[in-house]
């Protein structure tokens, strides 16, 4: 027991720096979201309005083994059907750190846009942080929602 306590005492100065570093990292990564995007056809184009080249390139990082660029934000825009839901659940389990989920479009609400193949109670399956309503959603509202995401968790 004594050896363990000695080791703990020795590790204290390093641990402090590490915790400080982690806080700094958390502070940085709060505003540095890496998304996975699940796109339907129609809402897709509204998101493209916002996106610059960097945003698009970030999407390609999904699946990369680099720890620093693992995604932590799931953007689902448009309808979700039975088949897509399995993929989304898998993608959600792959998110690291604080998991953010953003939904875009009226298909994700209870009325599911009026389409028979959009899952009705999608919110029971996936824990959404924010859903931006609209068919299609307003691009300004999407910007607002993305800005609010880090404040929610």
């Amino acid at each position: 027991m004594s050896e363990v306590t000695e080791n703990n005492n020795k590790a204290e100065p390093g641990a402090k720096i590490r915790s400080l570093w982690k806080r700094l990292e958390n502070w940085v990564s709060d505003d540095n979201l890496v998304p996975i995007i699940f796109s339907a056809n129609c809402c897709n184009s509204m998101l493209d309005l916002l996106s610059d080249d960097n945003f698009k390139n970030l999407v390609d990082l999904y699946g990369a083994n680099d720890q620093n660029h693992r995604p932590d934000l799931l953007i689902i825009h448009g309808h979700v059907n039975e088949k897509k839901l399995e993929l989304i659940k898998r993608a959600y389990s792959n998110l690291i750190g604080k998991k953010y989920v953003l939904g875009i479009g009226s298909c994700l609400l209870e009325t599911n846009g009026g389409y028979y193949n959009a899952i009705k109670n999608i919110r029971e399956e996936i824990p959404f942080d924010i859903i931006v309503p609209g068919c299609s959603a307003n691009s300004e509202n999407i910007i607002k929602a993305i800005k609010q995401l880090p404040k929610i968790r």
Binding site: C42, K83, N117, C135, S139
Partner: protein, 537 residues
């Protein structure tokens, strides 16, 4: 001998009709396979457009009435369209025509899953993810319980147009390869991630609501879809649309063709790892979008066409702007294409995915994919609509049907589109942009003495769907875009079916890619320019 008389002389046909430039042939189900074979082999109806089933049970549920099976086929030489109809039940097995057309297997499978009429060679493996829904295209299928249905009121439905989108291939499709020494042995395609049920949704809307919503089928090719819908309704009414509206529609259709081809070059460059070319075509594409935005005045854009003409007239300064922008684009584009045409590396890299002309016809691909295989067929030339017959332009044709050919055909098409636009811009007709009966589509702000009561009264008078069947085809950027529309007695939509060459191209891809290198698979897929949202709807 007249074509109608030829059909009437065939013993197997019960009834022959010629409505809306389409021959409708009724046939017994036992004779169906033989008739289709005869039409293909002896009357040159080589081209299968679509297979779909219409529910005629009147919503009485199981075991009553019958379903109408429809085969849409086309003769490419005399441009005649034939719809072979046969009544089937949900218990009897329908003979498959996958022996006659190899691309019919998937179409039959889809028809079975939507309506529940079994075909001969159907597999248990489902294409569409609708196991919990039941059979959505049956009349007895209730989408919502009573009182539950909520639609957004019309003014809040925002319409949209695609912007500079690169996100073409995200989450669209899943492939499983079987590989042997880096060569693809077999491929299995999993699709259904996009299926939403738009066709069924449109059947519950009126004609104006369909116009506002039809771009949700494919936002990247929305102009052709809007124009197709308006054109179909106008043809069914026999409406005389002003020449000015036709000319403007042609300009926007050609602009969309250029934009779609630029997107194709961009994706292809991304695949071959030419980042500079990718960036340039991305920027050129956004320049075309700016022309659309200038015309309609905002970023979130509503449809350009409407039933009876065009929604807005040309704004001030737009003609000068389009001339300037297109000139600049043309210079950059020509530089790029000429440098790539002479590049050896580029040619060697794209020398894969060969499709011969017979294969292309058998699978029913259309547009640039068909023309790259050496078949000179374009609806704009063979069955011209609007003013295409009066214009001077050429249809580029490939030789071997490789990826390089598909690239070159599209590159030539862009230059031809520039020529078409220049010719139309020089001769834009003057006069009205709307048919007189449809003036209420004009925006409220532009009317000086605005009478709200009169406007609301006229706005409620939605053009009803004619109580007959109509089939219409226009040439889009990736081949034909077709629509089949059946009206009910009360003026609502009975059956709405959209079809394009993309589904056939996907079938062809799964055949072509076998035997190719693994690295080439994505390149071959990109070269067909398939939009999955059009395949699945």
């Amino acid at each position: 001998m007249d074509i109608l008389e030829k059909f009437q002389s065939l013993n197997s046909i019960i009834k022959t009709e010629y409505v809306n430039q389409t021959y409708f042939l009724n046939v017994e189900i036992e004779e169906l396979q033989y008739l289709l074979y005869y039409l293909r082999e002896h009357m040159d109806y080589l081209y299968l457009l679509d297979i779909f089933i219409i529910d005629q049970t009147g919503g009485r549920g199981k075991g009553h009435g019958h379903y109408q099976l429809n085969y849409l086929i086309k003769n490419l030489e005399n441009e005649t369209l034939v719809c072979v109809k046969s009544s089937v039940t949900e218990t009897g097995v329908v003979p498959s025509c996958s022996i006659i057309w190899p691309n019919s297997f998937v179409k039959e499978q889809e028809a079975k899953e939507l309506v529940g009429v079994p075909f001969e060679f159907n597999s248990d493996k489902k294409i569409l993810p609708i196991s919990k829904v039941g059979y959505p295209q049956r009349n007895s299928h209730v989408e919502f319980e009573q009182g539950e249905r909520k639609f957004l009121p019309m003014p809040h439905v925002q319409s949209l147009r695609s912007e500079e989108s690169n996100a073409l291939l995200q989450n669209e499709i899943l492939w499983e390869f079987e590989v042997e020494e880096d060569l693809i042995k077999s491929i299995e395609i999993h699709k259904g991630f996009f299926h939403l049920g738009l066709e069924k949704h449109f059947e519950s809307l009126n004609s104006n609501q369909v116009l506002m919503n039809i771009n949700r089928v494919n936002t990247k090719r929305s102009t052709i879809l809007e124009t197709l819908w308006c054109d179909t309704i106008e043809r069914s009414y026999g409406l005389e649309v002003p020449d000015r509206a036709f000319a403007l529609r042609m300009i926007f259709l050609e602009l969309e063709r250029i934009k779609d081809h630029f997107q194709f070059f961009e994706c292809l460059a991304g695949e071959v790892k030419f980042p500079h070319m990718q960036q340039v075509f991305s920027k050129l594409g956004s320049k075309i979008v700016e022309i659309f935005q200038f015309y309609l005045g905002n970023k979130k854009i509503s449809p350009i066409s409407c039933i009876g003409g065009i929604r807005f007239d040309i704004p001030k300064g737009w003609l000068a702007n389009i001339n300037d922008v297109l000139e600049k684009i043309e210079i950059v584009f020509n530089d790029f294409i000429s440098s790539f045409e002479s590049s050896k590396i580029w040619k060697e890299r794209l020398n894969c995915g060969e499709v011969d002309s017979k294969m292309a016809l058998d699978f029913g691909v259309t547009g640039p994919n068909l023309r790259a295989s050496g078949i000179n067929y374009d609806i704009r030339k063979n069955a011209p609509y609007y003013f295409y017959s009066e214009l001077d332009f050429e249809i580029p044709v490939g030789q071997r049907g490789t990826v390089l050919d598909r690239f070159l055909v599209r590159a030539r098409e862009v230059t031809e589109s520039f020529i078409i636009i220049a010719q139309v811009l020089d001769n834009i007709p003057t006069g009205s942009i709307l048919h007189g009966d449809f003036n209420y589509f004009r925006t409220v702000e532009k009317q000086i003495n605005f009478d709200s009561d009169k406007f609301l009264k006229s706005a409620r008078e939605v053009p009803k769907i004619e109580n007959n069947e109509i089939c219409n085809l226009l040439e889009g950027s990736n081949g034909h875009q077709g629509i089949f529309l059946k009206g009910n007695e009360d003026g609502s939509i009975g059956r709405f079916r959209l079809f394009s060459g993309d589904q056939s191209a996907l079938e062809l891809f799964s055949n072509v890619v076998c035997g190719n290198d693994c690295e080439d698979a994505m390149l071959v897929y990109q070269s067909f320019n398939i939009h999955m949202s059009e395949v699945e709807k």
